[in-house]
């Protein structure tokens, strides 16, 4: 059917956790791209009896549009498969592309929509390259999207902290997010990238100095978390802790959480930060300890960053980690030191179920999910493409919701490092459809402060996914029957039919005007571009309101 301005999704079984709807048969009414309470009886109907209706998926942490992502695409010509342009209904533009761990932009949008996801955030964009990210998002159709600006290794901020001017961070963050059209603050390996660029290696302790004694990972975390809170940003600081991927790093992770105790903070790809043991020694799972802290602290949220077996591409601003991966694996390695701000590293990788560490990483992720007491604060991600491609989400959902299947998989993996882990001891929990709806849409939308996403209440964006029930949940979630984006049917009968442009999600908090002059002086002294060319200028879509409810 064509897309009418009004549509009644009739008689489906609705899972809308944000509105307390858990599997009730009811209609979902759509008008002009929004959910409305009622429609006249003669409004067009989409029969959904027997089908499962959920809000569109929301990906809180992915890598799809940064300059680093494009460097990764460039680096891996040999892993790419051609994907012809979809045949769309409305004479709309459709483009071919390539698949792989890093699909081309149009293919990325089509594939997310094909999985029922309608909102995606790129979690790591160097502010100086923000223009590049907007250009790629412009070419990523269907999904609404935005990105987080990389902070916490930027020389301007570190200099303010060193000078004891932490309060300047608030205005700086406000100015920067608005200037580059970002949505949130991302902290990657606070201080660790700056140290690596200066020739340092290890930054193991939260109180280790970065250049100046006043500048420590703890100071960086506090400063930026306070700034985000003071600005009442819709999403709190999005933290990638120090010591990613190192045995024993759970201690660092817990210390980072305690450092921000009482402040809202989102800890990303927690799986990569929940290992016991000693650096350089034996690995073990520390998922129990880490998730116990999360469970007890409602101000903390996380996404898991699940590892799935198969090809991946590790891609991160955490360039010292990428260097170590290159050195240990001998695989090709791309590094870019990004002026005054951050780093960028890319190394292709494969998680093999026969490998003890990969099996442990897989298990740690599942443990975090299965031991979480509040699914609203422990949401789904694979840190695409680091732990796995986002196309593995349906398979991950099956692992969470189907114990028999999970145990079958567990029996196949290398058990060497799993002794004593919760998963090996037996975890009976199976995610319900309601919980799946929380960790894939309602939860991330709430954590992102997106009032109109992740639910089907009146006034919400009409981003809706309709699934046909299937005993195999991987199949069910891989091929939604219908997907609506802002009320438009983009997937019908499992086929992509329309590919409208998505909206840009970004914030523009107010700030003291003097901060721009101060940053300008700094960039004139140390940068290589005109300050006037740093901001990306006006965006087509208006900013999301800041200031909180």
């Amino acid at each position: 059917m064509s897309t009418p301005e009004r549509l009644r999704i009739a008689g489906g079984t609705v899972h809308d956790p944000a509105n307390g709807v858990d599997g009730e048969v009811r209609d979902v009414c759509i008008q002009d791209g929004r959910i409305v309470a009622t429609l006249p009886p003669d409004a067009p109907r989409l029969p959904a009896r027997g089908l499962v209706v959920m809000p569109g998926g929301v990906d809180i942490h992915s890598h799809v549009a940064s300059s680093a992502v494009n460097q990764g695409r460039f680096l891996l010509p040999d892993e790419r498969e051609p994907v012809p342009a979809p045949r769309l209904d409305d004479e709309g533009d459709a483009y071919s592309g390539t698949a792989g761990t890093l699909p081309s932009t149009f293919s990325t949008g089509y594939r997310y929509a094909g999985l029922g996801y309608t909102t995606v955030f790129d979690a790591a964009v160097a502010p100086v390259s923000a223009r590049y990210a907007h250009a790629q998002l412009d070419d990523t159709p269907i999904v609404d999207g935005g990105f987080y600006a990389l902070l916490g290794n930027d020389d301007y901020l570190l200099a303010r902290i060193a000078a004891g001017e932490r309060e300047r961070a608030r205005d700086y963050v406000a100015w920067l997010l608005g200037a580059v059209g970002a949505y949130a603050v991302k902290i990657v390996n606070p201080g660790g990238i700056a140290l690596w660029k200066a020739g340092g290696r290890d930054l193991r302790e939260l109180d280790a100095p970065v250049g100046s004694a006043a500048v420590t990972p703890r100071a960086i975390l506090e400063t930026l978390a306070d700034a985000a809170a003071a600005l009442a940003l819709p999403h709190p600081v999005h933290v990638h802790c120090n010591n990613l991927g190192v045995a024993g790093n759970a201690a660092t992770t817990l210390a980072s959480m305690r450092a921000l105790a009482g402040r809202r903070a989102h800890f990303t790809h927690l799986q990569f930060h929940s290992y016991g043991g000693e650096p350089g020694g034996q690995w073990s799972s520390a998922a129990r300890e880490v998730i116990a802290y999360v469970n007890e602290h409602p101000e903390v949220s996380c996404d898991v960053g699940q590892v799935m077996f198969g090809a991946a591409t590790t891609l991160s601003a955490d360039s010292p980690v990428e260097y170590l991966l290159h050195a240990s694996s001998g695989r090709k390695w791309l590094n870019v030191d990004v002026e005054l701000e951050t780093g960028c590293g890319v190394v292709p990788y494969a998680y093999k179920e026969t490998a003890a560490v990969a099996a442990l990483q897989w298990a740690v992720g599942l443990e975090l999910f299965l031991l979480a007491s509040d699914p609203w604060r422990v949401v789904l991600s694979t840190d695409h493409p680091n732990g796995a491609s986002f196309t593995a989400y349906p398979e991950l959902i099956r692992l969470l919701a189907d114990r028999a299947y999970r145990d079958e998989q567990l029996a196949r993996v290398n058990p060497r490092l799993l002794a004593g882990s919760a998963l090996a001891d037996g975890l009976a929990r199976e995610y319900t459809l309601h919980e799946i709806a929380i960790v894939t849409r309602a939860g991330p939308a709430r954590l992102l402060g997106l009032a109109n996403k992740g639910h089907l209440g009146v006034g919400a964006d009409a981003d809706v996914t309709v699934y046909a029930r299937d005993a195999d949940l991987a199949r069910m979630f891989a091929t939604p029957r219908y997907v609506l984006k802002a009320g438009q049917l983009v997937v019908e009968e499992g086929q992509l039919r329309r590919a409208p442009a998505g909206r840009r999600l970004h914030v523009r908090p107010g700030h003291d005007a003097s901060i721009a002059r101060d940053v300008e002086r700094f960039l004139d002294q140390y940068g290589t571009m005109s300050f006037a060319n740093y901001p990306v200028g006006a965006l087509r879509d208006p900013p999301v309101a800041v200031g909180g409810p």
């Binding site: 010509p77 390539t98 290589t528 060319n533």
Partner: protein, 435 residues
């Protein structure tokens, strides 16, 4: 038009890949009268900004709409069309080129395949150890100019990136840094160097291997028997490697474009050396590229197709054929029509020669002055002078283009009209007919 003088500030220059964006362009009487702070190369690129605005079909002046319709007919008839991107295009225009190629199931290629192929392929095989200009400015304390003097093709690199400017870790600029000139064949490094060595073209990759082996702690023990030059080669290479190892942040600057006087291919060795230096110290390879937003073409093609150049869309989806790009396909007579977008004068002889023998559409600045014998010619503006959008510096930093003048129809608008004239769907595949 007003005779008053206007000035546009913070203009990005596309005269080379350095992308200096501190230019003030002064315009009077519809002419650029000054490009302040531009180097001679940049000033020549800006010129007076006067460009023709003609649309021609078979040597007759026509309206732009007629020319677009004729272009669409020419391209739609082709069995094996080529879409070829050359200089002075915004990223937005480059994206439109890719979209048209997708629709035509064309071969999509750029200048990169004819100029920087070995550098890009080496980076794909091994990766990169790179840094943006600002890191080099602020940190680089040992700067190697490898087989190139930036004064020739990147005139402001010395003053804006390294070694001249002061940086956070190198407060005294040139005096805080050691400069090494590596002359290769007839290609000389800069005159103002603290250390100078020379390698013959044939020795270049050996020299890089010796340097990398030295960095890895396995220098050649002694010169091999026979070759009298080998002693000097090893000694010089070890000297440079040792100096690099003593750096806090080493930078190796090279030119990815073909350099006169150099016949050897150092791309892989330079990457390998720069990567190895990141064990014992830090190192970045600064890879310079020509202007015209060629980096942008690599970037745009990569995000849209997955590949930076030589993308064959014949089967309706991208396939990568960098070793068999436009020049070779033209040489074999496989291409039967072409759309050239950008500065026609930049098209290398290996491509332009064959273009004169097939139906060809040229859309770009001054197309009517150098039209490759084209059937259809549409003059457009120059990105960064008449057209806005985004461009990418040689270090992958994106910048806005700030047009200073009114110009002919914008390239991106002409391309959109052309795409629209080509119809709303990918071309159907012709199946089954005999050859």
């Amino acid at each position: 038009m007003s005779a008053a003088e206007r000035a546009v500030e913070h203009v990005m220059c596309l005269g080379c890949g350095c992308g200096c964006d501190d230019i003030t362009v002064r315009v009077r009487d519809d002419r650029i009268i000054a490009a302040e702070r531009a180097c001679p190369r940049g000033a020549a690129w800006f010129g007076d900004g006067v460009v023709p605005a003609r649309s021609r079909v078979e040597q007759h002046d026509v309206s732009m709409a007629e020319a677009v319709a004729a272009a669409a007919r020419t391209l739609a008839r082709a069995a094996r069309p080529l879409v070829y991107l050359t200089d002075d295009l915004s990223c937005e225009a480059q994206g439109e080129c890719a979209a048209i190629a997708d629709r035509l199931h064309a071969m999509l290629d750029t200048l990169s395949t004819s100029t920087v192929l070995s550098s890009l392929l080496a980076a794909q095989r091994r990766g990169r150890a790179a840094a943006t200009f600002g890191e080099i400015r602020n940190r680089g304390d040992v700067i190697v100019f490898w087989g190139m003097d930036p004064a020739a093709r990147y005139p402001r690199y010395w003053a804006r990136v390294a070694p001249a400017p002061a940086g956070a870790q190198v407060p005294d600029g040139r005096r805080s840094r050691t400069v090494i000139a590596v002359d290769v064949g007839d290609a000389r490094g800069p005159d103002d160097a603290d250390v100078r060595v020379h390698f013959a073209n044939a020795e270049e990759e050996d020299a890089l291997a010796i340097m990398r082996a030295t960095v890895l702690g396995r220098p050649p023990a002694a010169p091999g028997a026979g070759a009298t030059n080998e002693g000097t080669l090893v000694a010089d290479a070890v000297t440079v490697a040792t100096t690099l190892l003593a750096a806090r942040y080493a930078v190796i600057v090279h030119d990815a474009e073909p350099v006169p006087g150099r016949t050897s291919d150092a791309a892989e060795g330079l990457i390998a050396l720069a990567q190895a230096l990141n064990g014992p110290t830090r190192c970045a390879l600064s890879t310079l590229r020509a202007g015209g937003n060629r980096m942008g073409a690599d970037a745009v093609l990569t995000w849209r197709t997955g590949f930076p150049m030589a993308v064959d869309l014949a089967r309706g989806a991208p396939r990568y054929r960098p070793l068999d790009g436009a020049a070779r396909m033209l040489e074999r007579g496989e291409i039967d029509a072409a759309l050239v977008v950008g500065v026609a004068a930049s098209v290398p002889e290996s491509v332009s020669g064959a273009l004169r023998t097939i139906p060809c559409v040229v859309v770009g600045p001054r197309a009517s002055e150098n039209a490759l014998g084209a059937t259809v010619i549409i003059d457009t503006g120059v990105a960064g002078i008449h057209e806005g959008g985004m461009a990418v510096r040689a270090d992958d930093i994106p910048l806005p283009l700030r047009p200073s003048m009114e110009g002919p129809p914008a390239t991106v608008d002409v391309l959109r009209a052309l795409r629209s004239a080509l119809g709303g769907r990918p071309m159907p595949l012709a199946a089954g007919s005999a050859p």
